[in-house]
Symmetry: D3
Subunit: 143 residues, 6 copies
């Protein structure tokens, strides 16, 4: 039986600042422009989590979306929503809070919980604005 | 010459109920929650059909979208729109009407007609709410 | 001090059937077409509730959105979500379940609770599909 | 000749914190919940500015949208985008940074510039999330 | 019985050029910028038509949306869709093809047909891009 | 280190006509229908450009989006926006202006500039209407 991909969207609103620890504010401004404003700025983030698996014939689902939603909320949204990504989010410690690094860190938070359901984590997508998004598919030799 | 992927969106509004025949209403409620309401509920479904092929140099299209749209409407939309998926849709007989099973069944309805156009069916995507969607890519050893 | 209008969106998925009690199924079909399918169909409804009031200087809000959201959920969404509007919704008893009648009935459900907050109910908007919506502003001699 | 309403959308990303100066952090948390997080959070704001006027017969516009866009950017967006609304925005000094107060303050920033174009400012709308927005129509006895 | 407002969206794709007959191409360019490109450009237009009326108790509708849709398509969409607004649309002859003038001209096309249904035409809204729209409410002393 | 996919959306409004040089207007109409209107029509196009690369540890980006945006604007948007695709766009000369051919031609415009940044061009997606889009992934034996 072939695989179906199932995607759940969750949302969080957070503050951040693009900032490289070893650089001065001026150096950060030169690289990141207004995204490095020392007083922070923020976004409405859309998070899309895609899992992959066979449809279980008895229930007709790859996996129950309520379970996926609960995992995402407990492990990711509750830690990010209405937070400052630079200073309050344990899994973003020591990482520049770009959408790229968010996607990778969220993948790492979610993967063990998704695997425990008997399905694979396929993609973590972060939409930062209506014009920008990133996608991460895990460590994958084929990509 | 390399391939282009062409996607057409069509929409349908339908009623359904998540329901496993062999279980009581209570058992269904335990698994599916309010999605198993015996009096039905419904959705505005978005269906995205993606085909893959080379661009035909004389017409500049992979395939005429009007042809794709007609195939989707005649074989899928006309059977689903303003219907009850559990009891009125021939190709969903004996299947739990999840988005996953809808995607697989729609794939099977469409594939022979798409292949007859000289292009491949690549993906059937069903968006059930703004927060949930599934994608099916056919029986595929690489996935 | 002048007024600010505050709008909250909530969503529900429901089944319905356009159906006039005194008419046969054929007569209903003639007036409503496929919207009268005896086996039901359904929609993802968007509900927008707009209240009007002065900004309270101490808190900076017209009213706390969490309060508005709770009122809408307890009085409207919990009764409509994943339900059959024709047969399960107390405040839609004996009413044809059009978007128009939904908007009027939801207004009546919400108004006393909104007034109790010291603000006015201004508009109830129901979006049934991406192409159709209705707005109701209450009984209003100026409209 | 009757009036046409012309609306321009502009966007800004900003950080803020719901916070009443005279209250402790705990008191603020009790009223505002997570929106009062001392480390800030943020949003992608959509700003819709509606002006009202007669169509000028020679150019076919109520007013050139490029002019409107320039006014909004110079007087509002440049001051808000990638900023902290609580501490960096001159026209939000001493005001609780709710969407309501943002709309009123933006109205005051824009109105003289809009009137100078020979048209009226009709509405300032602030969309804070996909579920919440406010509208302000100025000081208006009829509202 | 109070009034309900009912809105139908229809879409058309058209070419146009902002162009004042009595001016040279250079003068047009100075006023309209790239919108005056002599070789045309185009848009996906969204048209929202709002009618106002009482809910008819026997059918539960202000008016059947299929009737509204048919009127809009026959009188407006069929004349605009995949057309050049400057040179092919009878009701835009001798008018600068701005969104403002489109809204007014569409109002004039629709109003007699809407009134014939026993309801009022309330608003014609034209969305030209995701950032710009105009609204026209007819000749109205109160506006 | 594994790869992240980064997508930037840019927009352009343009006129075009589906037209095969060697055919009469009638023959073109027979194949393309109203899309071949000799007086042109147009669209609001959404262009999504996806690049693939490793996250640079010092800046936290695959590549700075401002750089991507500048490349897309200088090489693609400035040549297409408010233009006639059939007669004004150098890289669409002698090509039927379908979404498919646009995607391929835009890929060719962008690829050398993207590669020069040390990342790969992964996908060019063109959305012509809310119901239609195409995706091109370059010349790729695996597709």
């Amino acid at each position: 039986m072939s695989k179906v991909f199932l995607t759940r969207r969750e949302r969080f609103n957070a503050a951040h600042r693009m900032f490289h620890e070893g650089w001065t504010d001026d150096e950060n401004m030169q690289v990141y422009g207004k995204c490095s404003n020392p007083n922070w700025h923020g976004h409405n983030y859309n998070l899309f989590v895609t899992v992959k698996g066979s449809v279980k014939p008895d229930i007709g689902y790859v996996v129950n979306l309520k379970t996926i939603s609960k995992i995402i909320n407990e492990n990711v949204i509750d830690k990010l929503d209405h937070k400052n990504i630079n200073i309050e989010v344990d899994f973003m410690k020591d990482v520049i809070p770009s959408a790229e690094n968010l996607a990778i860190a969220i993948w790492e938070q979610l993967e063990p919980h998704i695997i425990a359901l008997g399905v694979e984590l396929h993609c973590v997508k972060i939409e930062e604005t209506e014009n920008n998004y990133v996608e991460y598919f895990g460590i994958n030799d084929e990509i």
